[in-house]
Assembly symmetry: C2
Homo-oligomer: 380 residues x 2
DNA sequence: TGATCTTTTTGAGACGTCTCAAAAATAGTG
DNA sequence: CACTATTTTTGAGACGTCTCAAAAAGATCA
């Protein structure tokens, strides 16, 4: 296709006039507009400002424009200024696709927010996480592509996204043992960074994590201090590192305190309010009902609280209750919880990923953060 | 850079051998591998399979490969087969950036999921919405780019994304009166489709919506049937079409039923649990306390319920309670709510957007869905 | 002034794809 | 078989950017 300058020359007007004419700008009279339009039509030109147009207007070479726009040190300030002004005048916008092709990168990072057929995450923590990751990415001129991963063969979706150059790398959460996504991405040498991984064996990939065992230990110590000994655990089905670590920590704390875990004190359910409420009921109806209930997260605690309320068990007088994640629900319901420094974590995670993408890996690619206990009226 | 064929020729081996050698494949012996590697180094070649390589292997022209891979009718089945096999053998993956540049489209749609500094949406409805939109997009080989919009000048972010060819169009939610994003995108002729818009005046853009007035009317009629007359409303601050429509509908229903709305029956708060609980308290402490409380959504209803529980007002015996959106919390708490057909809506929305992107606008670019009342124990 | 060194600009070429007009192959017809 | 009509393949070129090696301009010094 022709350039703007060619159209302008053909119409016998200055470039800027041609530009304004094609933009239907008021400053150009009707006759000129039509004339320019005809020239454009003849050359089969549609207005689309590129670096070449800027070069023509500023009277420099296209290479110079590229350097100037990218703030290269090579370019003389005066020239840069000239170029920037021309760009401004023509309302230039970089074409990302062209840059991507040339540089073989995309400035996009993938994150699978939803899992197909199981979209109701109800996970305020991850919501906050993804918000901060997006912020971190955008500050570095990256963008986030969110996609749905299937329950089976999720790794293929990751493979497809990376090998078609749709994304430069991935953020991964909900890491499982022997996670096929991680295996696949590692094999492909595709950049990725995970939220979670410290309690996986041989995790030699980039991750950030919050020490879940430490978090539960904070909860347990707090409950012990309050005089509790009969403490129940409302956890998730095993097989997920996050949940398993929390349960391990609970057991360790009980053992260290010399307290026997009675039958029925531990229940496992999926991360659903109803199930949590029912599980709480089961625990409270066990032979030696606990005086405190530790929940795997705030949603489970909410479910448990609903059950306790419904049978008029007072919190914390009859039963103390704790959650995990410090989400808005727990704040509202006054449930003692564990705060995770999601903001810093997300930032760090993206930094690590960016290092890998740029082939300049950070020295420390595995960072562990500390959780914080947030005491509320559900335990005191 | 050189092509795989050139490397193979230079090393004096068949293309496939060269390919496998560069992949460190076991089937190629050490000597050949090194030989090929040297040839590649000499030509400054790094393995990256393109359509040209497929063409070389299949013995056809590169144009043929493109046609074949895109299932063009032009290509003879036998040829297509040959090409596909070659592609398979070389593990070919399309380079999206190149296609995007050539076709001047991206296959990406933008959606601003979070608003800067106000990330805690706690909006299960929109979460489901975005899940279904993503699914709809991916079924059509599109992807979703989620970004954070600033509180001020959000339209600039939209402009930047579209004018740099980062996205082909937008999904928009939380539409306001005189929404600057819509003004901007309309002025730029950028494709977009909104969730919400039926109660905006002169909304001549593409949207889908669920009739919010109708939804509240369903709630009100249900409450009237249950014998309620003193009905309060827990709504949002005015200025948002969604909320305003609900309040208007409440007022119309009361007027049609010939019931005077007493002082203190209507409260407005932000979409926060705490605020909702406090507002509920205010309403219930008004001079003529209502016997039923209609909430703008389920989160507000949850907040209200917490207050009612805390003062031992029984639901529904002392006060009936309704929400809106039919989210998991309402399901769990047994709160009567209004279901919106989010799944169909998201699908329809994306179809409309896709039509606009492809410059083949659907005939019906504004679709209104009907809400459904879900009666639970909070009202009977 | 001319020679040398440094800074700045230039212009070509490549990234991988799609698509057009033109060429080649094939089928159909008398 | 020759000719036309149709189907299929070809190969060049364009999309807009970045970057390299080379050229030009400017600075420094004898």
């Amino acid at each position: 296709m022709a350039t703007l300058k060619e159209v302008a020359d053909s119409a016998g007007v200055p470039m800027l006039t041609a530009f304004r004419a094609l933009n239907q700008h008021d400053t150009v009279d009707e006759v000129t507009r039509r004339c320019v339009q005809e020239a454009a039509d003849k050359l089969n030109y549609t207005l689309k400002i590129t670096q070449i147009d800027i070069a023509d207007l500023a009277g420099v070479a296209k290479g110079t424009v590229s350097y100037a726009l990218n703030n290269s040190e090579l370019i003389k300030p005066a020239t840069r200024q000239k170029v920037l002004e021309a760009a401004q005048m023509l309302g230039y916008h970089l074409n990302i696709s062209a840059r991507n092709l040339r540089m073989n990168r995309t400035g996009v990072v993938g994150y699978s927010w939803h899992v197909a057929d199981d979209p109701s995450r109800m996970n305020n923590l991850l919501d906050r996480f993804i918000y901060r990751v997006t912020m971190a990415a955008e500050e570095r001129h990256f963008h986030l592509l969110t996609f749905v991963q299937p329950q089976k063969n999720a790794d293929r979706v990751y493979e497809s996204l990376i090998s078609t150059s749709r994304v430069d790398g991935f953020i991964i959460s909900d890491v499982t043992y022997n996670d096929p996504r991680i295996a696949r991405l590692t094999a492909m040498r595709a950049p990725f960074a995970a939220f979670g991984g410290m309690y996986l064996e041989n995790a030699d990939f980039a991750y950030v994590d919050v020490d879940g065992k430490k978090g539960i230990r904070l909860v347990m110590d707090h409950l012990f201090e309050q005089g509790h000994e009969r403490i129940g655990l409302l956890g998730w089905p095993s097989g997920w590192p996050f949940g398993d670590a929390r349960e391990v920590s609970y057991r360790e704390a009980m053992r260290d305190a010399g307290i026997r875990i009675e039958n029925g004190w531990i229940a496992h359910t999926h991360n659903i309010l109803d199930s949590a409420a029912m599980a709480a009921q089961k625990i409270m109806n066990s032979k030696f009902p606990p005086t405190a209930l530790v929940c795997a997260n705030d949603l489970m605690a909410f479910g448990a609280k609903s059950y306790l309320d419904s049978v008029n068990l007072r919190i914390p007088d009859d039963v103390a209750l704790t959650g995990y994640d410090d989400d808005p629900t727990a704040q509202f319901l006054g449930i003692t919880s564990v705060h995770q420094p999601i903001d810093e974590l997300a930032e760090a995670l993206f930094e690590i990923l960016l290092g890998d993408i740029n082939q300049e890996p950070l020295p420390n690619r595995q960072i562990i953060f500390n959780p914080e206990l947030v005491i509320r009226r559900s335990t005191q």
